[in-house]
């Protein structure tokens, strides 16, 4: 399969809601670099069609997930403005295949930042806002069965995201150990803490800015960064109501066929 065909296959999987088998099944040589090339082609096509890049998401930020795939650095995907869902809104299943949800922390900068030597303090000095968030993922591969290059090509399963309304920046010193409770239909299904994202969600931005700098890109003021899942993800089903809560914010979303 050529790169162009892979891009088309992923886009068609999304629009027709039919999943693919992983590229690495038939092409074991398909690499992480190849995966990012496909991801970039999908982003460029979206932008040509009038979509707007709204930020980035980090994946493989927890020790448990890194162990699962034996890769010990995070991966990244892109976010589009059309993926954002308002808090307490509705997640539509009609445009998705088999979506799952997981709580995260989102961070927005107030100044652009680039550079391969960026440090956490450079990030902290430029934070505009920190938000409780929930990511909706939806693999375009059957049953979420993929290897690392596949999931990178598939934009790290990105599908949607919600941000809470409260800016948690005043509570920065409490961020790492701010307990997160994730409920489905009123029942607690997962708990976690932001320290689960590379020890501190700020480190997720360090990794992102450093990785963008490899292609002379940077993080722009106002872009949203999802810093990585803090609990296991859960399938979302019709009529489910999910709620994400921390000490200073909470929001929910419902799921519609």
């Amino acid at each position: 399969m050529t790169s162009r065909e892979k891009v088309e296959a992923l886009l068609k999987a999304r629009s027709s809601r039919t999943s693919l088998t992983a590229f690495t099944d038939s092409e074991p040589g398909f690499s992480i670099e190849d995966g990012y090339a496909i991801q970039n082609a999908i982003l460029n096509q979206a932008i040509q069609q009038g979509e707007k890049l709204s930020g980035f998401k980090m994946g493989l930020t927890s020790k448990a997930k890194q162990k699962d795939v034996s890769v010990f650095e995070p991966i990244r995907g892109f976010l589009l403005q059309s993926m954002e869902i308002v808090p307490n809104g509705v997640v539509e299943l009609s445009t998705r295949i088999r979506p799952r949800a997981e709580p995260e922390i989102a961070i927005v900068l107030k100044e652009d930042l680039k550079g391969k030597n960026v440090m956490a303090r450079d990030i902290v000095a430029r934070i505009y806002g920190i938000y409780l968030a929930c990511e909706i993922i939806d693999s375009r591969y059957k049953d979420y069965k993929f290897k690392l290059p596949d999931v990178i090509a598939d934009n790290t399963s990105a599908s949607g995201y919600l941000l809470g309304n409260v800016n948690l920046l005043p509570y920065l010193e409490h961020l790492r150990l701010m307990g997160i409770t994730f409920r489905r239909n009123g029942e607690i299904v997962e708990t976690g803490a932001p320290a689960g994202a590379l020890g501190d969600p700020i480190m997720s931005l360090v990794e992102l800015v450093r990785s963008l700098s490899k292609t002379d890109e940077g993080l722009l003021a106002g872009q949203v960064v999802l810093t990585g899942g803090l609990t296991n993800s859960h399938f979302i089903l019709p009529r489910d109501v999910f709620e994400v809560e921390c000490a200073y914010d909470r929001f929910s979303f419902s799921v519609k066929e």
Partner: protein, 266 residues
């Protein structure tokens, strides 16, 4: 008045711990072992410990999350006895050669300021009776081969309890809402698992009320000064020689422990 096999099972678990040689699951020997019978075995060994001069200093609550209960085929938490020689000092070493197959987990510990009733204990009564709360490690260690335990096995085996560590930080309950107390458990400086205290029955206070009411059924009471380990906030980690573990909790302090294999035995 105990059945002969209650004493036999008690003896085999006692010997297993002493010799650090695990035994087959009790539920594989006696498939219909009930939870009540399992508590009789636990109590038999608790009595033995006290006769030997070990001081009872509190209780642990386990199986507090729905997921873990489902895994062990039970529908409510369990408890075990804590003795003074199970308490390790913070920032010290745990000698793995004294243990069989230890695992570590982070929990909220309660230190009681007043006695609790023996029945009808409500969260309100618990809140009024708590002296302070703090961050703790529980080191669990099954005396059953390869942790092949069902609910009755771990209950008979004193909730698989082995050692625990308390943070020296004293936090008053006053305005603390446990649902927002986050925890990060690190191994060798890297965060391995996180959780929130809401994972423990929605609120760890519920676990203390639960154990107080359970103990009442056995004619026991939680006393002022007792320590209650209220249940794990997340998954447990295996412990290997030279591993350094750290557990941080929002407002409740930090505990650290280093693993050392000090002996040839085991």
């Amino acid at each position: 008045m105990e059945n002969k096999w209650i004493k036999e099972f008690s003896d085999s678990l006692y010997e297993a711990e002493k010799s650090r040689t695990p035994v087959k699951p009790l539920t594989s020997t006696k498939t219909d072992l009930s939870l009540e019978e399992a508590y009789q075995i636990q109590n038999f060994n608790a009595q033995r410990a006290m006769k030997q001069g070990r001081k009872l200093i509190g209780y642990k609550v386990g199986l507090t999350s729905k997921v873990v209960q489902q895994k062990f085929g039970v529908d409510e938490p369990d408890f075990g006895h804590l003795f003074h020689d199970m308490l390790l000092l913070n920032d010290t070493e745990v000698d793995l050669s004294q243990l069989i197959q230890p695992k570590i987990e982070g929990e909220v510990a309660f230190v009681m300021g007043k006695d609790l009733s023996t029945s009808g204990v409500t969260p309100t009564e618990v809140i009024r009776a708590v002296d302070y709360v703090t961050c703790s490690f529980e080191i669990v260690d099954s005396r059953i081969e390869n942790w092949k335990i069902k609910g009755a096995d771990t209950i008979a085996d004193n909730g698989s309890s082995s050692r625990f560590v308390l943070s020296p930080k004293k936090t008053l309950l006053s305005d603390l809402d446990f649902s927002h107390v986050g925890m990060a458990l690190s191994k060798n400086g890297v965060v391995e698992v996180t959780g929130s205290a809401s994972a423990v029955m929605g609120n760890p206070i519920h676990a203390v009320a639960f154990v107080a009411n359970e103990l009442g059924r056995f004619g026991k009471t939680i006393h002022a000064g007792d320590v209650i380990l209220s249940g794990s906030l997340s998954g447990m980690l295996e412990m290997k020689d030279s591993d350094f573990f750290s557990c941080e909790m929002w407002r409740l302090g930090t505990v650290n422990v280093t693993c050392r294999n000090k002996g040839e035995s085991k």
